[in-house]
Amino acid sequence: MAQITSADAPLIKAVGLRKVFPPAKRGGEPFTAVDGVDFELRRGEVFGFLGPNGAGKSSTMRMIGCVSPISGGELTILGMDPRVDSSRIKARLGVVPQEDSLDLELRVRENLLIYGRYFGLKRAEIAERTAELLEFVQLADRAESTVEPLSGGMKRRLTIARSLINSPEILILDEPTTGLDPQARHVVWDRLFRLKQAGTTLVLTTHYMDEAEQLCDRLVVMDHGRIAAEGSPRDLIERYSTREVLEIRFAPGSGDHESALAKAEGLIGTGERGSIDRLEELPDRILLYSDDGEAALAAVHGSGITPLASLVRRSSLEDVFLHLTGRTLVD
């Protein structure tokens, strides 16, 4: 029986969700990719998963997509248990996987036809949806093209169109814009935003901070299979970063970077104007976190540090990410 979910019940609820992969070789160690995560997806929101490579984002998406059995904890999707009702759940999901899975030999339109048939839709219904969806992702003029020669951005848009063929209640997007040029990314963002406006609930993973800031109402930062933090982009910045950041750079190989690092540590928590909360060292620069970046820069100069270049900017999600995972997101 399809379960009735009340309007404010979460669409997806995970409690202590785990994914353990069996060892690749006999006698090897099993690998824990998702190590007890809790989250709730609310109707109408865009929920993001951020995390470095191997954090367990795709593993989580695949469990939500009912194509990977859960190894532990609880997972409820649309009020149903994926172990029992995977087919019924999948009928109401749309999935954009990390890697495209289009039939390259077929035409654009035929890809949607086959996919619509998987959902048991009638041909006439599929034809109608196809026209709308290709219009929506700006591929209407390519309906009769073979998929193979399409650009990466077009293939991604086609995958998004395909995922919408069954008018899903939840759309799961695993790195929807990775590998796309800025123009193509903006088109995808715009379409995702329109879907949200139209009431579709979105779950997405991304490596792009700007994408997460623009699209996500709430997000989690994942690392080593766990959730390191959860909140809205603004919340997270307020909670885990200062208002401003001072970036300073030095000539490579001069040794200035190392000596500046030692001096800058002396500026942490002095309580004076320009005092810094903490610092992060990156290979090519040092980030100093302070509520007043200009004052921090003055303090830096005052302590005898002479950076080659400096920049004061507002804190972003990238800083939160760096703080929580100790890594930048650039692969």
Partner: protein
């Protein structure tokens, strides 16, 4: 996981995968149909017609069995066996590279299991599709056999040669079910050429297609009896010539069906392991 509750008026899940593959086939059939029918056709012409004349006139003419006291002409002996071989070759061909492509290259299996289809539905749909491909190729081959005079009315109501067609499909399925199940596990295509060279060709040569298995050395004869192809060859031939007994039909159909079922059992596992890690 398969759906527990039937959805009225909806196409069964595996049939949806079958439809998808047929849609794909509509675009790609030209390349495949030629090669899969041409090879056995060449054997039919080269061996059945040319060599057949010599064999039928020689001292070994009785080697190929008798029907109603008359020795069976070599062409008639060979043709239904080549149909069983067409079934095997079509099935193995369709069960190797296309499966790897759907699993690893184009990932269309992954696309399908994100929909209501389960891994088993996808597997079953693919095996059903191969069954249809075998039916097509063997049907075309049977038509060509008739053109070359390799078909004579036999069996109940004279439809023996037609009965060989479903037998050929069953033979094809006995290869498709286990080979698809195995192919989905392959990381590289090297195993495929091993199957072509060390399974398909030896079976083609030694499963009673060109000469009765009784002519094989006693030591390797039992090997021929366990291969699905021998059962397929003997079944197709027996039906086409009208020489099959109820017992032999039952034995062959039972054996081939058992191989199909074992293949399906294995495929349910391998597909789940690969597609639902």
């Amino acid at each position: 996981m398969a759906v527990e509750m039937p959805q009225p008026a909806a196409t069964p899940m595996a049939a949806r995968e079958l439809q998808g593959l047929l849609t794909n086939y509509r675009r790609t059939w030209r390349a495949s149909i030629f090669s899969s029918v041409l090879a056995p056709l060449m054997s039919l012409v080269a061996l059945g017609m040319s060599l057949g004349k010599i064999v039928d006139a020689g001292p070994g003419a009785h080697t190929f069995g008798t029907v109603d006291g008359q020795p069976v002409k070599y062409l008639l002996f060979l043709a239904p066996a080549l149909m069983a071989n067409t079934a095997m070759q079509t099935a193995i061909g369709e069960s190797t590279y296309p499966v790897m492509s759907a699993m690893k290259w184009q990932k269309t299996y992954h696309a399908a299991i994100a929909s209501p289809l389960s891994a088993f539905d996808v597997y079953l749909g693919h095996v059903m599709f191969i069954g249809l491909r075998v039916l097509m190729n063997c049907g075309i081959f049977l038509g060509t056999m008739a053109l070359f005079g390799a078909v004579e009315a036999a069996g109940p109501a004279g439809i023996g040669p037609l009965l060989a067609l479903p037998a050929a499909v069953l033979t094809g399925l006995a290869f498709a079910a286990p080979v698809v199940a195995w192919a989905v596990l392959q990381e590289r295509d090297t195993g495929f050429s091993v199957v072509f060279r060390f399974v398909m060709i030896p079976l083609f040569l030694f499963s009673g297609t060109f000469f009765p298995v009784s002519q094989l050395p006693a030591l390797i004869r039992p090997l021929a009896y366990v291969t699905p192809l021998w059962h397929g060859v003997d079944l197709c031939r027996g039906l086409a010539l009208g020489s099959a007994t109820a017992g032999s039909v039952l034995l062959h159909v039972g054996y081939l069906a058992a191989v199909v079922i074992a293949g399906l059992w294995y495929g349910a596992r391998t597909f789940r392991r690969r597609l639902n890690p």
